[in-house]
Structure formats: C-alpha cells, structure tokens
Point group: C2
Chain length 546, copies 2
Amino acid sequence: MPEGTSARPGIFEQDLATNPVNHITLSPLSFLKRSSRVWPGKIAVIEGDRRFTYAEFALRCRRLAGALLKAGLRPGAAAAVLAPNVPALLEAHYGVPLAGGVLAPINVLLDPAGIAFILEHSECRILLADREHVEKARAAIDRVGRAVTLVEIHETPGAGAGGRIGYEEFLAASDPHPWCLPADEWQAISINYTSGTTGNPKGVVCHHRGAYLGSLGNALAFNLRPETVFLWTLPMFHCNGWTNTWAVTAAGGTHVCLRKVEPGAVFTLIAQHRVTHMCGAPIVLGMIINAPAALRRPLPVPVLIMTGGAAPPSTVIKGMEALGFSVVHGYGLTETYGPSVYCQWQDAWDDLPEAERLARHARQGVSTLTMEDLAVVGASGEELPADAVSMGEIVTRGNVLMKGYLKNPAATRAAFAGGWFHTGDLGVMHPDGYIEVKDRAKDIVISGGENIASIEVEEVLYRHPSVLAAAVVARPDEKWGETPCAFVTLKEAAAATEDELIAFCRERLPHFKVPKTIVFGDLPRTATGKLQKHVLRERAKALPSP
Amino acid sequence: MPEGTSARPGIFEQDLATNPVNHITLSPLSFLKRSSRVWPGKIAVIEGDRRFTYAEFALRCRRLAGALLKAGLRPGAAAAVLAPNVPALLEAHYGVPLAGGVLAPINVLLDPAGIAFILEHSECRILLADREHVEKARAAIDRVGRAVTLVEIHETPGAGAGGRIGYEEFLAASDPHPWCLPADEWQAISINYTSGTTGNPKGVVCHHRGAYLGSLGNALAFNLRPETVFLWTLPMFHCNGWTNTWAVTAAGGTHVCLRKVEPGAVFTLIAQHRVTHMCGAPIVLGMIINAPAALRRPLPVPVLIMTGGAAPPSTVIKGMEALGFSVVHGYGLTETYGPSVYCQWQDAWDDLPEAERLARHARQGVSTLTMEDLAVVGASGEELPADAVSMGEIVTRGNVLMKGYLKNPAATRAAFAGGWFHTGDLGVMHPDGYIEVKDRAKDIVISGGENIASIEVEEVLYRHPSVLAAAVVARPDEKWGETPCAFVTLKEAAAATEDELIAFCRERLPHFKVPKTIVFGDLPRTATGKLQKHVLRERAKALPSP
C-alpha cells in the first residue's frame, strides 16, 4: 500500500486503547473521596455549632447513598431536596450521585404547585425536605399522582417518631456505600429547574463531566485553595451553588452553611470563621453595603465575593471595596452551571482612573479555563466584531454546558442551534475580548426604532444617592412604540421625585434613553433575587395613558 | 412492562446525547488559544533579550503548525525536537499537536545513536535541532534509513543559507494554521522516551486528555496563577517539563527560558524577572545551595520550587528554605506526565519540631487532584496497610497516565496489570495516607535476607558535612548475598575517610544497613540528573574482593 493512504491506524493508536487504569470517569465524587483521604481530620462543614471533618462529611455522604438505595432509589432516577443551605443539601450533592441518582435541588421559595411540578416532571419518588418546609413538601406530594417518600431534615435525631423518617435516622440506619464512579462521565448528575420568570420552568440536565470541569475552572478562576473558607450566602439550590458545592471540596476548603442570609449573621460568620470566599447576587452585595453600622464587623482577612446574575452597578462594586471585599464579577446561566464567564482582572487596570477601572470591572469578561468559546453573534449567526458597540446575542461553547432540557428536545435543539449555546442575553464584545451583557433579549426597550438597553438606564439610576434599586422596562407608547419606564425603590429615609430622577438621567444619557415614567415602590423578585421584569412589564402596560 | 425492568434508557439520557457544542475535546491547545485572547499583550515567553507576547507566542505556534504540514508532516505522525529550553521547544508543544502530530522531545545529552534510535522507533521524518546540536542531529539522521527533514533552530533568521532550513524562516514562510482540536481527546500528543538507565529506552505515549487534566492538577497543586513567572530550570524534554509547558500557559503566566542551568544565571534571572516558580531535580537544588556567595542574589519574591525524581535529603530542603525558597516535593514518572503525587503541606505541620517537619516534608505525598488513586501493594497485588512500615510497590490509577508504550504491547500490559499502573518503585504508605518512596525495586540491597533501602543510607550520608552527593548500591558478597556499597562525592576542599563515614553511619543506622564499602569520586548521571545506579552496580561488582 502506498504510504499515506494506509487504512491501518497510526502507530500511536496501535495497541494503545483506553483501559480502566488510565481512563477514569470525570466526576466530582472523586473530589470528596480525595479530600477525605488528604484532609481526614480537617473541618469540612460548619453549621452553627455543628462541625463535620472531611472524614465525617464523606462518611455521611456514603451513608446517604446507602440510605437512598435502601429506600428504593433506582439508578438514573431523580432524588429531590427542598432545603436552604444546610449540610444535608451539601451532602446530597455527593450522596445522590454516589447512589447513581440525579439530584433535583428545589428552590425553597416555590409554592406546593411549583414543587409538585418538579416532582412530576423529574419523576421523582423521594424528597428530602428541611424542617422549615415539611408542610409545604407534604402539600406538594399530595398533588403528585404517585407515592413519594418524604425524609425530614432536622439537625438532631428524633424526627422519626410516629412513622416519619428523620434525616439523621435515615443516615444512621444505612450502610455506607463504597466509593464508585458512574460508568460514563456523560451520565446526569443533577436536574436544575430554571427559576422561570414566565411559564413552566425548564429542567436543565447537568452531567458528571461538566460538573468536574466546571469545578476546576471555578477553583482556578476564583483561587479556591485548601485555606479557603467559603460562606454559603448563595443558595446551593441555585445551579448547585455555581458548582461551589463541589469546587470548595475539590480544593479541600471549608464550607460554612447559612440557613438565612441576614447582614448580622453574615458579618458575624465572616469574623468568626475567617471567611475568604463567598458568592451572591447583587442584592446580597446591596444588603451588605446597606447593613446598619451596628451589625458590621471588620473582615479578619480579605474576602473575595463572586457575583453574577445581573451586572453589579459600579456604585456597588465601589461600596464593597470600601468595606474590604474584593468583587469578582461573573456571568452564566443554569445551563452553564452558573458563572462560566468572569471578569479576569488585568494588572494594567490598577493604574486607570477610578471611573474607567470600575467600568472595566463591571463587564462580564472572558470564559473560565474549562469553557471553550465565547462570542457575540448577529441575527444570522455571524460573529460580530469586537468593537464594544455591535450588539448581538451572547453565545458560548464548551464542556461546562448542560446535556439539554429534560423531556424537551425542541428547546434543547434550539438552545444548541448553529454550533453555539444561545444564552438569550444581548451584549457586545469589547476590543480586548471581554463581553459586556447589555440586556436579556426580551428586556430591550425599542423606542422609535432605537434599542435601549434597560441595564444602561438602570446603571444611571443606581448612581443617584437616594436610589436603592431600579428596574427599567418597556412601556407601550402610541408614538414611539415603546418608551423606557423605571420602577424605583428609594433608600430608607431618602426622598426623590419623578422629575428629579428624570432630570438626573437627562444629564447622563441621550434623551431617547431617559425614562418617560418613574414608578416608586418595591420591586418583585424571584427566590434567587432575580428581578421579575415580566411583572413590571405587565404593570407598565397597565399604567393609565400618559 | 413492570417498573424497573424497562429496557428504555432513563429519562435523563433520552434526547440528551453529546453534541459539538457541549462536548469538546480536552486538549492543552485550548490553553494557548484562551490565553492569547485573555492576555494578548502580556509577555508569555522570555529568552535573553527576546520577548513574545501571548498574541505573538500563539501566532508563532500556529505558524509552526502550518510549516510542519507544508513540510509534509502527516496527521498522527511524530515530529522531533532536539533542543535545550529555548522558545522553539516550547512552541513545538503547541505547533506539533495543532498540526495533528505527535511531539517527540529528545534529550540533548543523547549521542547520535540514541537520537537515531528515537527517530527510527517513532518513524519520525522531521527533526528540529537547536543550533548547538545541529552536527549531532546530522550524524543521527545519517544513521536513519530514510529521509528526515532537518530544521535548524537559531534565534535570528539567516540560517537558511545554502539550502539549510532555519527555524525563523520556516515559520515566516508558512500560513498560520487555524485553531482546531483533535477529534478525540485520546489522540496522542507526545512520545517521551524514558531516559533508560539500561537498554533501549521505552517510548511513553501521552494523550491530549491526560495533558489537559495533568496541567490543571499541577496548576492547582502548585498554585500557578496569572502572576506566575516560571523559570525553566527543568528540561522541557523531560516529561514535557512536568506538564508546565502547558500548565503555565493555562494559568496565563510567563515562561522564562534558560538554555543552560548555571547558578549565576539562575540567581540573575530570578532577580530580573521576579520569578515565582521553578522546578528541578534535587541536583538543581544542590547547585543552588552550593552556589558561590558571589553569584547569589536575594529573591525579590518567594520562589516555590518543585522537585522530584528522587527524594530531596532533609538537609537540602532546609538549605533551600534558608535561601528563601519554598520546596514542594513531588513524585512521578514519565508515564505519569511527571509528578502526579506531591507532598501537600498540612497546617498542623507548622508547629512540629524541625526534624519531624522535615521528615514529613521529604515524603512523596498524595495524588494531585486530577489523578485518582494511589496505593502500595504487596507481591500478590493486595493493598498493604497504611502503617509506614509495610513496604511494597507504589501503584497508581487515573487520567494522567500514558496510553502505553509505543510498539510494546507486552510492556504496556505489564505496566497496567491487575488494575493499577506499576511504578516499579518501592515504598510505604503512612497512616495519614502519604506515600514515601523507599527505593526503585532494583535499587534495594538485600543483605542477609534483610531489605535495605539504599535511599535511607544515602539520606544519612548526606547529613555528613563533607558529603556533596552519595549513592548506595548492592555489592555481591559471599556471606551476606549483598552488602551496601556507597559511592560518595565530597564537597570541594572537604575531606573525609572511609572509616569516618562508616562510623558516622553506625551512629545513625542499624548495623546491617551500614555501608561495608565507601568509594570516593564523581557519580555517573543521565542527562536529566538521574543517578545511573546500574553503572555503580557494575563498579561495585568489579571491586576486588574484600
């Protein structure tokens, strides 16, 4: 046979197939197994007065896996948890996949109908519910057309009286499952329902490979180390805590659980445990900045706080820095396991004037190391130039992306159409390759044919000293099609009039972008702090004609 | 169909196969692509007065890929490089795999016969040779029974006169290859020949997946960051520089190339570029410690130095710490992409007495995060207890392991027999899960039926103030079978007699472990600084009868 046309495999492929020694499933289960061997005596989990070492944490997760199997969990089936940030929810991130199951973390602010939808859709037959949410869990189960086993999560044994299953008894009665990995790293590890500002939520199916790689990418981006003390101010049920349920364990750090995010508790725990890292939506940052002086305590060590979900206004970044926090701004969706884009700091920015520095800082940034590609594309899918002004859809590609939506092949196909994952967010690419989110596609206000990014108007409103929160949506208008309508919450004891805020915006924005209407009051939010703009759009539509 | 026996796939697998958006080949090529986008203007590579930004580094690698294809490199074929730590060798770590090829880095200390063996065995048709090694490269090619294209690596253009191909012209004449990834992450990325202390070297075939994961594991273990400045005191041709050719790029750090490791150059470059990380065999550490005072310069920032290959004697760790270096001790083989085990520091060790602290520090340690398992097994493959005394073979398992040996299925099978990769090294597992290498299986001295780890005897000899280097091998003995025979190099201007050293050992070792013979002189080493114990064994055998 002439050279170069031979059908035989190259010499570097002959007799060199994978084997069970050199090709191992990528799974975050390996993180806990390893940390329990490297740091068996180190505190892995703290909640109130409870402490679990890595050896204990691992044993509890192995017991949970054994208990779930004993309770009838089948391989590949879902097991749901309805809980705030308590150790049991963290343990479920290991115990459920170790049993071969798929974790369904449920938002605790959902009502029984919302919980029942998830149990039905994910065909879940077991639900672990925190003591505070047991009644709601029962009500949800009553709506489901088949038996669902309920395990009640209490800190201490004793809940098992009267036929009820308590979490601690559930663990104690089981045999610890041996460490094992799924046969295939593409196997599902979790089903995370989007918070769904409208209609039924979609079930985002995550896989072991993505969870493993996403954790490593986050550990590198946010410098998670064995010294890391991570305070759980972000709900674990939100994209598995942006993979930190796994990544902090991978690093051998310490998880500090927190049932309810309140400024006093946050400052106290930071001081008590020498917290180094935390995460939260901008609303958490706002809560910290606006905390009463009596609740504040100095930070014993610098705290890196990752934020995402919406761009933090520059004033918020500045306020956090003044308190000693270092803000890293990320961007992502449930479909990307939380933030997979982050604003990588550049040394050269240190010397920029403050306003410019903050503007760079507020951009969403670049892919984490384990994601692959990031672009802004136009209507026909073409990549737009990195010129800071060409607005298009933000798209991404890489290993830290969901398998797809459960039982929704049409939505899955649409999400992955044209060789990219479509975020549905609009943004621009700056010349330095950093993206900046301008708005959700549906949050753009189109006034007289001009696009107005609501976020740009909100950013200006946030700069007004009396404004605590602001949200801008489209208000139907006969002449302009739409005009920007701002909903504003003022700070306590602060005052501002509609005219004053409009004048403030006029000085800082092109006239067509200035809100024509200002409405004062509280802003509707989802459980995870996301603004419910669809509610505001309805309110704007219902306003009496100007 | 009854529940639980259904043959249909679970709901989390239906319509949820991988696609080209959410499942991307793991390859270190992605590291350079990303860093050239995130840090285009940052200095990526330094050599003497030359500087390449990440944009330039990436373009040069893309040009190299284009040039190799133009020169006839076929997908899946090897391209060899014979060079010290110059930018071209670093570029080949990206340019060759980007062209779909397999990099064969060759040890510059090999003679033409050794080089020809590698060219023949890997069926290589192109060789890039550094200007210092061109004549040897020609001599090697003359021994090979087919045409091999030779490209001469010079810093500046101009070597192309007279029909010779110069590296800079080779790049300049090519079209930059577009970024692309291999179709399969199991594809070979490099072929690294073991330094082969005896017989023909074996060709270790590494794959893209392992290179990617090994790099991430090293980046996390050794805290490689964008701020990292890595000084190349370890040959890149040694296990691809323990994956640092890729890992430093992944972190967005700066590579400082160094053609020849000399104490003056090392101290000067550390001071000039504010080096943060470096690697080297213990002999490099010894060179630094024993550098003349006139060549020493203070370290501007603390330098983390990773060492491996052989356990650094406690005195060496102590000496390095006194100079401001922080030593991390690793362990691995070419088959594990260099160190995949490292001595993870534990906070509790800070408070130990010095001797105990150094003893912990000198152990090889635990798996990196991206390896999977590590154990010590007995003769029949059973895992030995973690009791610090049960000696057996060190075995490992994980994704950072070679595909196998090129054209040597028997050796590949033997290496992966019984569900473990066999290192051939003997050691113990301590109760805390840290391994300690006791010796190469063949370096054990068996005297009167008792095993003597040569390393233990060497460690004692190193503590003697006059000893610069020491190596202990078995000397055949009629009565005892074998006795320990020590080969010792004394420090300059130092003096010690055989009796004095034997007495020194008697005070510190059980009598059966004390060397019966001491031979003074230089120690034979391979290009990478490994002791050639087989040479010493021959010398010991040839000694006149006692």
